[in-house]
Structure formats: structure tokens, C-alpha cells
Symmetry: C2
Subunit: 164 residues, 2 copies
């Protein structure tokens, strides 16, 4: 997980609906579980806007860790973002700006990550890891904290310890 999109989603939502939802309130659930169902399209519209990714903050430690690991591994960034087609160009530019070691040749947009041949996959969504067995690592995020998963990496520091 390199982009802290949930922080920006909550900022925009709180601003628009005069709420004060914190990231902590997402403990064990996704933003889709938390918000009223009629507001799901609002959240999806944020993510599908052309400029959303120009404002998304980085996940702590991602930038340095990717730079370090790029010297040892051929790293691909696989984004399942095709549900949000208007955001693809900005997502590309987010990678280009913050992760200069990842060229366009190493960026993949693919909703079904099981289709990708890779030695390892680190992902915050359990369903993306289902075909990876022991090569799959769950990256801890608020929404997945209650899931019992055999190989979990809590942050980029732990990723560096495991793969560095």
C-alpha cells in the first residue's frame, strides 16, 4: 500500500457532509461498511475524479522502502483501480512523481490480481492474495485488522525487515 487514499476520502467526505469521521472509526471495516449506503456513489465519485490522485498522501515509509527494494527486486505496482477509469492517468502520475524507480513498464492496472505472475504479492485486501498462498502478505490497514491472516506485514518498516 503506497497511497493513503482513505485519508483523502475522509477529508473530502467530512468537509462535504460536515461530519468528523476519523480513520480510527474504520477499525475492522471499510469505508463502504461505515457510511450510509446512499453515500457510496459519493465516495466512488471522489475516487473516479481525474484529480483525486494529485492530492492523495503517501503511506509512511513507502517511498524510501520502494527505492531501497528496487535495487534488489524487480518491483511492479499492481493497482486494481479499473473501477475508477477517470483516475488512471493521475494514478500513473502519482507513481511517476513519488516512485521514480517504477517506470511505466512496471505499473499494472488489473482488477483481478490472481492473473498476475509474481513471486510475492503484498496487498491490503485478502481477496487479492487468494492465489498467492505463502507468497502473499497482508499489508495491515484499518479495514483488515480483525482478519486472521498467516503472514501479515504491518508497515513498510516490516516489509524492509522481511525483504530488505
Amino acid at each position: 500500500m503506497i497511497a493513503d487514499s482513505i485519508s483523502l476520502i475522509l477529508d473530502k467526505y467530512n468537509h462535504e457532509y460536515h461530519t468528523e469521521i476519523t480513520k480510527q472509526s474504520l477499525w475492522g471495516k471499510t469505508v463502504y461498511d461505515l457510511l450510509p449506503e446512499v453515500h457510496i456513489p459519493v465516495i466512488k465519485n471522489y475516487q473516479n475524479s481525474a484529480d483525486f490522485y494529485h492530492h492523495v498522501p503517501l503511506v509512511e515509509g513507502a517511498q524510501d522502502a520502494v527505492a531501497i527494494l528496487s535495487e534488489k527486486y524487480n518491483i511492479y505496482i499492481v493497482s486494481a483501480a479499473l473501477e475508477f477509469p477517470n483516475s488512471l492517468s493521475a494514478r500513473y502520475h502519482f507513481i511517476e512523481t513519488h516512485f521514480p524507480s517504477i517506470s511505466w513498464r512496471n505499473l499494472i492496472f488489473c482488477a483481478n490480481k490472481s492473473l498476475i505472475k509474481a513471486h510475492f504479492l503484498i496487498d491490503d485486501m485478502v481477496e487479492n492474495l487468494k492465489d498467492f498462498g505463502k507468497s502473499g502478505f497482508l499489508f495491515t490497514a484499518y479495514h483488515n485488522v480483525n482478519i486472521d491472516y498467516p503472514s501479515r506485514l504491518n508497515n513498510w518498516e516490516e516489509i524492509l525487515e522481511r525483504f530488505g
Copy 2:
């Protein structure tokens, strides 16, 4: 091959430079081989514009064949277009408009097609087929006509005969 992007590239180039380059002149070579090297960025800019794919014509027979084959196969469209990030959204909408059986879950943007797990790959670029062995089929295009390839499909009619 579903999008006849070369036709639109030549139209735009001929219009801009007052030339009369035909598709036939691409027999055995790519547009990058044919044009003066200083004009390569021009061609790449066409392809990287946000609206190029709103005007690209379809390859003959593609639309019907994909609709027919979708009833029998789980078809993915894999585009290597990440060199042209500003075009990604329009490429998505091209698929959405012309190939309604292909949802966003079945669209993949990936420069290196060897990374994709698939039973078959049909592609007009030999380098995209290199890891597919007998499961790879070369789709005939002007630029690849002189390449000796064991399994070639000349058009969508032949694809339907082989897989229908």
C-alpha cells in the same frame, strides 16, 4: 487487435504534414520505422492525448467476434498502453462503448504481457507472445506480415473459426 489506431495516426499525421502515407506503405514495418525519427514524438503525442481513443476506428469484425466468444470464454483485453498514460481513460471508454461484454474487471493495462496468466493470447506484437508458446497467436497487421510465425490468425473471422 480491436482498435485500428494506425489508421487514425496516419490520418492525423498526413493532415498535419501534408503527406499521403497509406497503410499499405507500412507493409513489413511499424510507423516508427517509416517516419523520420524527429517525428516519432509527434506520433507518440497523438497516442498520448486524452481524446485520441474517442476517434479510433474498430478493427473489422472485432466487435461481433468478441460478443460471440464472450459466451464461451472469459475474455480479457490486455493493453500495453502504459507508455501513453493520458490515453488510459479514453481506452477504457472505448472498450466500454464498443465491447459491452468486457467489464472493467476484464480490462488489463500491462506493458509486459508475459506477466499475465492466460490460456491463450492473441496479439499483433511478437514480443508480447514470447512466453506463450503454442498458446500464443500472432494477429496479422501490416507491420508483422514478413515475420515467420508458427500460429498466425489473419483476422477476426479466422479467430472465430479457431475458437468459436
